[in-house]
Amino acid sequence: MAEKITGSEALIRSLIEEGVETIFGYPGGAIMPVYDALYHHREKLKHVLTRHEQGAVHAAQGYSRATGKVGVCFATSGPGATNLLTGIADAMIDSTPLVCVTGQVASPLLGTDAFQESDIVGMSMPVTKWNFQITSADEIPEVMAKAFYIAHSGRPGPVLIDFAKDAQFAEIDFEYHKCNNIRSYVPYRPIDNSQVEAAANAINNAKKPFLFFGQGVVLSQAENELKELVEKAGIPAAWTLLGNSALPSNHPLNVGMLGMHGNYGPNLLTNECDIIIAIGMRFDDRVTGNLSKYAKQAEIIHIEVDPAEIGKIVNTKFPVVGDAKKVLRKLNPLIAKNEHPEWVAKFKACYDIEYKKVIERDIYRNNGKISMGEVVRMVSEKTEGNAICVTDVGQHQMIAARYFKFNQTKSVVTSGGLGTMGFGLPAAVGAQFGRPDRTVVTFIGDGGFQMTMQELGTIAQEKIPVKIVILNNNFLGMVRQWQELFFESRYSFTELKGPDFVHLSGAYGIPAKRVEKGAELEAAIAEMIDTDGPYLLEVKVEKEDNVFPMVATGASVSEIMLEAPTKK
């Protein structure tokens, strides 16, 4: 039975109908009726007040990535809405399902340069999967149902709903039906069995098969199917940054990370394998390096839900369009039991080289000073691979990806495609709200932390037990590394002085400690993890460490460097 309610109430009821439990947001003039409706449902719908709209959208992203659910955020019109854009762009490129609701001036004022009016529909168009402006309250149930359906189906992505203030006040007869079909939208194409058979044949005949997995595996919950394929065919498997944790780190066929700061073997042997089986990944330039020297000897099988990704970057001999889980369920029975011991041994040999040249020094510094890798290793060990690891962007992000170990999926929350500094702290807030049962640790550089550190206020107010590790080298470390390697060490505006992070944390009432000596590190990490509630640990790491291995821009994956080239 339909009943008469306001547009704002209808919006809130729509969220409840969609199973939303948590909203991250920031109120303002043009969204006040919605916040008023929310007030009456505050027991059922948890709203988290962030300290900036960028924090709200990153928190919604973190929530989504840790749970697999659609992240929801609210902002007001004008600056509130534009402050969401970075997070929306981040969610778009990293395929994160979001529904962002922005307030908008009343519809008669549209286009008049009214107070806090901005064309957020126009501005967000290139970075949303879909967006819509509600100017009539009647549209709300159908539009909200479409928003959630579009956000999470097919290749997920962000949806923005711009909600004119007069429509928030107007009354409608509310009746809600979930959306499961839009005429113009085909999120999952029927799987072509001949494509699956061709791919299975290629895998069965391969001598040196190599599997790449990306976030598509996580988004379609195909972790078990992936593991089954890897084990059945005996294929070494490497992950993209966002695919990390879809296969346990200690799995014998998990050979590590692809790409610019990935592992030695996966990069080098990309140019030696005979078949690449790419699942739910998009051949980002940070993965491929120089395309003209990328895997030219290999035939590529590309399993991908988004048809626009197939053939976008690399020539694909065996395309399989479809959701990773559904495709693997059809593919796995056609795979012959196999193993490739000599081929797998090559990865091990590469790992041994990398271990001696890079890893050992990274994770056991033993010279009194502290390396980022050492901190990551210790936190990983202390949490026994069960934590959710949230990172910001930069050197520490690559180090965390390389050295944090994972037992379960959906354990990595990081900004991949967009590389958004400032992502880490708010994303950790969202991840912790999504998974209160898990330890959430976030590694952040001193640069990125200062971009969104106001979210300490959110953490303090909500008393969420996020463990914050600032890896402080008083540098924008990754940029500095590039300046050292490619700009003759001209450190152009990369050195920065931070505040006293321990004092800062103390001002928010969050316990904190600074560690400057290697000998104090282990105890400090134990104290952080064992503390109930939030904790901030500032670790003074070596100022001018570099992340290696590295595939330099323009270089081939097989030209991966284990150390800086000797200077001429």
Binding site: G122, M125, N181, S184, Y185, V186, G311
Partner: protein
């Protein structure tokens, strides 16, 4: 190799669709040479006809990106040989020039153009054809000083006997059944 491609897209007739489609070209720095949008044979579905200079590979990738838009039903690309296409052009000349001799009349006959309106001051002539044909007519007519000239975007139709949008809609129905 770059050549002229005609990209066609069938979309829901919703606000903002034009923007959603054109930003795909803008982002890849592909210029739109001509653009026509109008309702298709099916009510509520718009048809976009877009002409670009591009490689086949780029045209294919653009079509995939267009089709990825939630409110796009189907998109295609073709080279000029694969489609029948027309543009329409209007020319304004002074009526004095028209009546001064029979040269303009000869040109109108030769180019298969037609006269739409004659007033004391000016005459409006219409010609449909390919870009080079309407341009050739312009060049010859301009001897008598064309006062105003306008050319439309392209409209195009495939040589294939099947209406592929209907096929798509039928497939959608069978997928949902």
């Amino acid at each position: 190799m770059k050549e002229e491609y005609i990209i066609t897209a069938y979309t829901e007739n919703h606000i903002g669709m034009l923007n959603r489609i054109t930003i795909i070209f803008t982002r890849r720095k592909v210029n739109i040479e001509s653009l026509t949008v109008s309702e298709s044979a099916i009510k509520g579905i718009s048809k976009f006809t877009i002409v670009v200079h591009s490689t086949a590979e780029q045209a294919e990738k653009i079509v995939k990106q267009i089709e990825k838009q939630v409110e796009v039903l189907k998109a295609f690309y073709h080279n000029n040989d694969e489609m029948i296409y027309q543009e329409i052009a209007l020319y304004k000349v002074s009526t004095k020039a028209l009546t001064a001799g029979n040269k303009i009349e000869t040109l109108v006959r030769k180019h298969n153009a037609r006269i739409l309106e004659i007033t004391d001051e000016y005459t409006v002539i219409e010609k449909t054809g390919h870009n080079d044909e309407t341009q050739e007519f312009f060049d010859e007519l301009n001897e008598f000083k064309v006062m105003q000239f306008i050319r439309s975007g392209r409209v195009a139709i495939t040589r294939s006997p099947i209406e592929r949008l209907s096929q798509f809609l039928a497939e959608r129905d069978s997928m949902l059944a």
